[in-house]
Structure formats: structure tokens, C-alpha cells
Symmetry: D2
Subunit: 143 residues, 4 copies
């Protein structure tokens, strides 16, 4: 692969996991306080009403929330956090274009974090919000 | 189309929407009281921990819940219902194998339905549960 | 009762319902964009850990959210809205002192509203957050 | 205290905490698999629509869920569990009469439990359901 992917250097994670490759979103870890995921919505992400499938919306909200948790302990945004529970409000309809999900830590302690997220269309419209409980996976559990 | 797809006749919906084709799940509308979706989990559906991505779990839970709503008014399971809000509890870890999500109406009225769903591995293990509020889309809004 | 209660005139609702009288919170409708409820927490509102009972926290969050919905259609904050679903994150421990819950509309349409709320201690500490779906009760349903 | 309170012997907890005395519900720990709370609904528990206040419904659902968690480690139902998050679906309207909330463990591990609950009127009508994440408080944290 002769060409560098400069975005990787600048704090983006692409094609890391099977789901990420399948759905096609990009993780943005440049802001240590807010993990982000963006997706250029295509026909592949729509439901039978021609709107964004709720599951794809949650994929973005969940992923940016977990990344936000990881960033609290690891600047690369890869420290493992598991989703314990997540509630999503489908405030608006997601249309084709670029959607960005942004996470924010609301509270928590050593092992559990409360993380909110918002999914917005590139025109600023709010598509969905989420609140979740995320659990840090202790390093000894991963070996 | 000279060849029948026998599964369609038997109450399965395949490849209907962009998201369904992308993720690869199958909708089962044979039981009028419980919409179902199943997915044969592959590498494409995993997160960085090698477990089912939460967003894929929610895709199945959301889709089977909407189908369960549709089945209350339409035996084909295609009458449009929108997800208003949905809460998911990630009870267990989803591993490769066949996962099936099953919806059940818990209550509601003419326009809103409360629909619960469970996602189980083929070995019976509970992977996730959800509770959601779903809204019937009036036919006049669709034209 | 020879003396007026000036606070009523200034946009506070006290002792309106059985639950309000029992629990003792005050509804503040002075800000048309944000319904509020405050409670001076006493022994009566604690659980067995000596902290605010989760049910009391939700009483305040639910009530300020419904009031926020009412304020969108009625400056007195009394137009009826029903809670369809509500999710609460218990971010911190509620201790004795004055707690205030504040609601904010995040989106919605003619019949359903998405309303978030935050419960904070008088020292600014975040005690709990909620996201809810609220439904306007049509006037003809109330007669 | 010369007179026994026979109900205590039979597995009921009354008047233990400030909130319990205020609201007037009774905790039933006779069934080790399902904590229960019941309340005889009066004017004190109603909202401005003359229906059960959502906060009172959640008080019962939260309390029976915590009790269900406690019963997994302690037959008296008093081992401390904290509510991390809870989602409530207000399926039906709560009317005066006896309401009973019943909890069920859906999964979890050593420190976190997923507990569902249902609130039913004495005539069998479903009033509300909840799903919650509960955390065991380690004994060393309580001293």
C-alpha cells in the first residue's frame, strides 16, 4: 500500500472491526472529551420508509459513547468499555447525507460511566439522542 | 422470475431494505403475535472485543418490534410503524451462531404500542432485551 | 387566611395534587421554556441507605417534564400531558438540601414530545437525568 | 414492645424508611425469586388527571426491583443494591385500588443485575413495566 492514509494520523479510526467495515462509519478520537462517529448515509442504511434504520442510528450512538468512555482512560480511544444499557429517543428522521454522533460523559466512577450522545445530520438537525451505562473492562478480564 | 423463493411463501421477508441486505438478517412473520428476526452472526457483526456489536443487536430488536407492531394491523407485517424510543439491556454477550429476536406487544392503543423484545442465541442464552414505544404511521402520511 | 401567598402569583404551583401535597415539592412555571420542580429533601424522602429514594427523584423529573410539555401550549403549565415512557440515569447520590429538576424539550410534533430533565442539588451536583416521551391529551378526551 | 407484629414474621417489611412511611407501600419478601411492593392507592398518590402519579409508580417498581436484587444474596431482602438506571413504560392508567409491583432478575453477574418489574392493578390490569440496572453495594463501602 504505497499511499499513507493521512486521516489515520490525524485521529481517525477506520475499518477496525467487522461491524465498522460493514456499516462504513468512521471513528473520530481527536477531541479527548467527546468520542465521535460519522457515517455518509446511503441506500444501505435505510429502512422500508426510506429513512435511516433505527439500528444504524444506535450503532453510531453506541459506538461514539463507548469511544467517549475509552478516551477517559486512553488517548487512542481503544480501551475496552462494554455497553450495559442504552436508551434511544428517535427525535427526528435521518435522511441521506453525513450524520455525526457525539458522546459526552455525564458522570460515573471507576467502573461505570453514564454517557449521553446525540446524532445530528450535517445540516444540524437532531436525529436521535441516547443515554447509556458503560462498564470499563478490567485489563485482567481481557487476557 | 421462473424460480419461486419458497421461503417467501412460508412467511419470511428477505432483502427488502438496504439495511436488511447490508446486515443480512431475515424477518419471520409466520406468528401473527410475535414478529421475529434472525441473523447468522459472522465476523461482519462483531465489535473490537470479538462480541456482537450493540448496534447490530439493536437492529434486530428494533426490526422485530416494528414487525410485531405491523402484524397487529396487517398479516404481511409490512404496515409502517416508527420507533419513538427504545431501551436496550445488554444482558449477555452475543457470540457467533444464529441469533433470533422476538417481539411481544405489552399494551397500547390506536396510535402507540408498547413492544418488548428478546434476543437469544440459538443455544437459548439471553443476549439482550428491549422495551420500546412504536407509533403507527397513518396511511395518509405515506402518500 | 388573611394573607395572600405571593409566590402563587409569581408563577409557583403548590399543593395542587395529592402526590404534590404528600411529597411536598413545588412547581415553578416562571420560565416558559423549562418547567421546574424543587423539593427540600427531608428524612421523608430517603431510602434505607440514607440517600434520596429513586422514586422521589423520578417524581420530580417526571413532574417537571410534564410541566415543560404543558408550557409549550399553555402559560399556566397545567395543560395535560401524559408520560408514555421515561428513562432515568441515577448519576449521583441525592443528599438532604434543596433539589431542583428542570425540563427541556428536545423535539417532537403535535401529539408527542421528547423531554429531557436534570435533577441537581443546590450545590450544583448532578443527581439524576431523564429522557422521556410525553403525549398531549386532546381536550376532547378530558370531558 | 409486648405485641408481635405478625406480618413482619410472615415476610413483610413495613415503615422501614422515610419514603416507605411517606408513601405507605409494603414490601413483601416471601418469594425469594421475586421482590414485591404493594400500595393501596388513595387520593395521596394521584396526579392532576386523577390517575396514579408516574413518580409513585416508579417508586414501587424501583423498590421491588432493589428488593429482588437483595433477595439474591440475603433472604431478608435488605442487602443494599443501588439503582444505576431504570426505564419505565407507562402502559396503562393506574386507578385507586391495590397495586402490586413484582421484580424478576433477567441476568447479570457479581456486581450488576438486570431486573425487570411489572406493576399491576388488583384486577390484573398492567399499569407499567420497568427494566433496570442495579448495583450491589460492597459491604466495605457501607461502613
Amino acid at each position: 500500500m504505497p499511499l499513507q492514509q493521512p486521516d489515520e494520523d490525524a485521529g481517525f479510526i477506520r475499518n477496525e472491526t467487522g461491524t465498522q467495515r460493514l456499516v462504513g462509519y468512521v471513528v473520530d478520537v481527536r477531541d479527548a472529551a467527546h468520542g465521535r462517529c460519522y457515517l455518509d448515509v446511503t441506500e444501505d442504511h435505510l429502512n422500508r420508509h426510506g429513512a435511516l434504520h433505527g439500528g444504524i442510528a444506535v450503532t453510531l450512538l453506541d459506538n461514539c459513547s463507548g469511544t467517549t468512555g475509552s478516551l477517559t482512560v486512553d488517548a487512542t480511544g481503544k480501551a475496552p468499555f462494554l455497553t450495559v444499557s442504552m436508551n434511544t429517543q428517535f427525535v427526528g428522521s435521518g435522511r441521506p447525507g453525513r450524520l455525526t454522533a457525539t458522546g459526552t460523559v455525564k458522570g460515573g466512577g471507576r467502573s461505570l460511566l453514564f454517557i449521553d450522545a446525540e446524532l445530528r445530520h450535517e445540516d444540524g438537525t437532531l436525529v436521535a439522542t441516547s443515554t447509556g451505562v458503560f462498564k470499563r473492562v478490567p485489563p485482567e478480564k481481557l487476557t
